[in-house]
């Protein structure tokens, strides 16, 4: 949405904003409940934020992209404030919290646990204010990009609500499809995060990077079952209230795995916390459901209520009283550091194709700092929108429907019935079992073989007949086509990187190696992702 707004601001006369679900509701942004990192506080400077981002990225950040994230991101946060997003205030400035890995309080938020919905709503209102220059169309699932003479000239899509195939002509195309969390059985984002953008870019001839770096969020909610709440919700609780992470015997344990004693504060980075919880569970000291306990029982009820107001009532409706009950948490797939390779104008290697948001690789290196993802989505959206407007003004070749024929043929194909929902579940279990935060050569080989078997079962054509409204079985097939390619990319990259760094931990290569302080680019050759 930021890209669309900026494109019009920079002179584009006509922007088409497509989403496979409802506009502004289908992705991770609307689900983000926590905080946004930006150097907007007194005495802070984007260069300090950059230094922290580079440290967290363990040598793999693209420094130019990381700098844009921090510098342009701060401008976007201030602009969002003028757009009345409602950042919480303290005194004359923004209220902010210090998240792990940041050198100071730098993470702004909208109370209570409303950051993402508020950001989406503010952007949506701006998109609407722009008026007719931005046409919004929901329920359009882009399945392929159209390439003519090495340049992207548009896209082919499925109109979910009718089952019709569509073509879209565009002098500039921006991929802003978010991450790949749906590849994993336990994930925090929406069902639309199948990694479509990575697969679309690969097939169009673009390069991906750092696909091995999937961030697992250490304290995803595990038990008791909660409904109507985001599984990441315990993070803001920890920012505001500290909380204690305990093993099955109710003992603190992060120190045992290399962390500092937290003493009721929240200071452990995500990769270390994921490691500590996984190892503690492996050692047989996990909580009953196979995670760790998180306890706020030492925090007085009045303090809980002051910090989280209505959320305390939502918890009560789920039968949880934090003054009395601990909850169980465990690592959950959350974000993807890798993605499409772009330059500082968000251009991919393919002319006419730009990328923005989480779909971009490289800004966060091997590990993302908490709060950097929304900043990245806003900043890169703005940059991509400006560049798209510039490219449109330059002119582009006319769309030739002949180039769209193979992609249209796929949407018209009629394949045998298969249980695509079960196949999606199988892919998720393959990835969770062997391509989670901890990997080995043996496990990765097992995953590669299982994915190859799955690919054969998925077959060449979507099941059933085209043209049916809201046909989830066929839609799952189209998603599987993308998910398989993306899963294979993660496995290829994770197999190649024989070291441990940030979010990629190889149990058979536990050390970080100086020789590996480089990015791993991937391209598609004869339909197979290979190291470039």
């Amino acid at each position: 949405m930021y890209a669309a707004i900026e494109a019009v601001r920079q002179g584009a006369a006509s922007v088409l904003l497509l989403d496979r679900s409802l506009i502004g509701r289908g992705g991770a942004t609307v689900m983000a409940q926590m905080t946004v990192a930006a150097a907007v506080g007194p005495g802070d400077d984007w260069r300090h934020h950059l230094a922290d981002t580079l440290t967290a990225g363990r040598g793999l950040c693209d420094p130019a992209l990381a700098a844009l994230l921090c510098e342009v991101g701060a401008e976007c946060i201030l602009e969002m404030d003028r757009w009345k997003v409602g950042w919480a205030r303290a005194g004359n400035g923004f209220a902010s919290v210090q998240a792990p890995g940041h050198d100071r309080a730098r993470c702004v938020y909208v109370d209570f646990l409303s950051t993402g919905p508020a950001v989406s709503k503010a952007l949506r209102a701006q998109v609407q204010r722009v008026g007719d220059a931005i046409r919004r169309v929901g329920e359009v699932l882009v399945t392929d990009l159209v390439v003519q003479d090495g340049r992207v000239t548009g896209a082919v899509a499925l109109h979910v609500a009718s089952g019709a195939a569509l073509t879209v002509a565009a002098p500039a195309t921006i991929i802003a499809t978010g991450g790949l969390t749906r590849l994993y059985a336990r994930n925090s984002a929406s069902a639309n995060m199948s990694g479509d953008g990575y697969a679309l870019a690969l097939r169009a001839g673009a390069t991906l990077l750092d696909m091995e770096f999937v961030q697992f969020f250490p304290i995803g909610h595990l038990a008791p079952r909660l409904i109507g709440m985001d599984p990441i919700m315990w993070d803001p609780f920890r920012y505001k209230l500290g909380g204690r992470l305990l093993n099955g015997a109710m003992q603190e344990f992060v120190g045992r795995w290399g962390g500092d004693a937290e003493n009721g504060t929240y200071s452990t980075t995500r990769d270390l916390a994921t490691y500590a919880i996984t190892k503690e569970v492996e050692a047989g000291r996990g909580s009953p459901s196979g995670g760790a306990w998180l306890s706020f029982t030492h925090v007085p009820a009045a303090e809980l209520r002051a910090a989280f107001g209505p959320v305390i009532d939502r918890l009560a409706a789920n039968g949880i009283d934090l003054t009395r009950d601990c909850i169980e948490v465990s690592p959950i797939a959350h974000y993807h550091m890798g993605g499409v390779r772009v330059d500082t104008a968000m251009r991919t290697d393919v002319p006419g194709l730009l990328c923005a948001g989480e779909a971009v690789g490289g800004a966060n290196g091997a590990n993302r700092l908490s709060g950097n993802a929304i900043t990245e989505a806003l900043a890169f959206g703005r940059l991509a929108g400006a560049e798209a407007a510039r490219q449109v003004a330059e002119g582009a070749p006319a769309f030739d429907v002949a180039a769209a024929r193979p992609a249209l043929a796929l949407l018209a194909a009629e394949g045998p019935a298969v249980n695509t929902a079960a196949l999606v579940a199988r892919l998720q279990h393959i990835m969770a079992a062997d391509v989670g935060p901890f990997r080995t050569a043996e496990g990765l080989a097992r995953a590669a073989a299982a994915l190859a078997t799955l690919r054969a079962e998925v077959g060449e054509d979507p099941p059933g007949t085209p043209g049916l409204a809201h046909d989830l079985a066929r839609q799952d097939w189209l998603d599987l086509r993308q998910m398989l390619l993306v899963a294979e990319s993660v496995v290829v990259a994770a197999t190649a990187r024989t070291e441990s760094r940030g979010a990629h931990q190889r149990e058979d290569f536990p050390e970080m190696s100086a020789a590996w302080e480089r990015n791993l680019p991937l391209r598609l050759r004869a339909g197979v992702p290979e190291l470039a």
Partner: protein, 109 residues
């Protein structure tokens, strides 16, 4: 072992309405959406309903009728009894439990 019996309205516009009956093991704490997603994997991948955010109640797509009352499937708890699910009555039917809920200016017409 307690079970839930879901009576789910099936079919598209113009088709004679029918309710398919699915019996599934009751898992305490599950939402109705969890059960529908489970059914697609175990029984019928063609069952149509809307959702995006799973259980976060952020996308607001999963509205339907439970025993005649409008609910979000992701916040309605599954219970060990007969439960009837129908599409929203005041919206155009797409198929099964899915209806057209996008704002009119965001549709492809």
């Amino acid at each position: 072992m307690p079970t839930t019996t879901l009576h789910i309205r099936r079919g598209g516009p113009g088709e004679a309405p029918r309710h398919d009956v699915f019996e599934l093991a009751f898992e305490p704490g599950e939402s109705v959406l969890d059960a529908l997603r489970r059914l697609r994997v175990t029984d019928d991948p063609t069952l149509a309903f809307r959702y995006a955010c799973l259980n976060a109640n952020a996308c607001k797509e999963c509205m339907m009728l439970l025993d005649g009352k409008v609910v979000y499937a992701c916040t309605a708890r599954l219970e060990a009894r007969d439960m009837r699910l129908d599409p929203l009555p005041n919206k155009t039917l797409l198929r099964d439990l899915a209806t057209v809920i996008a704002p009119p200016d965001e549709r492809l017409d």
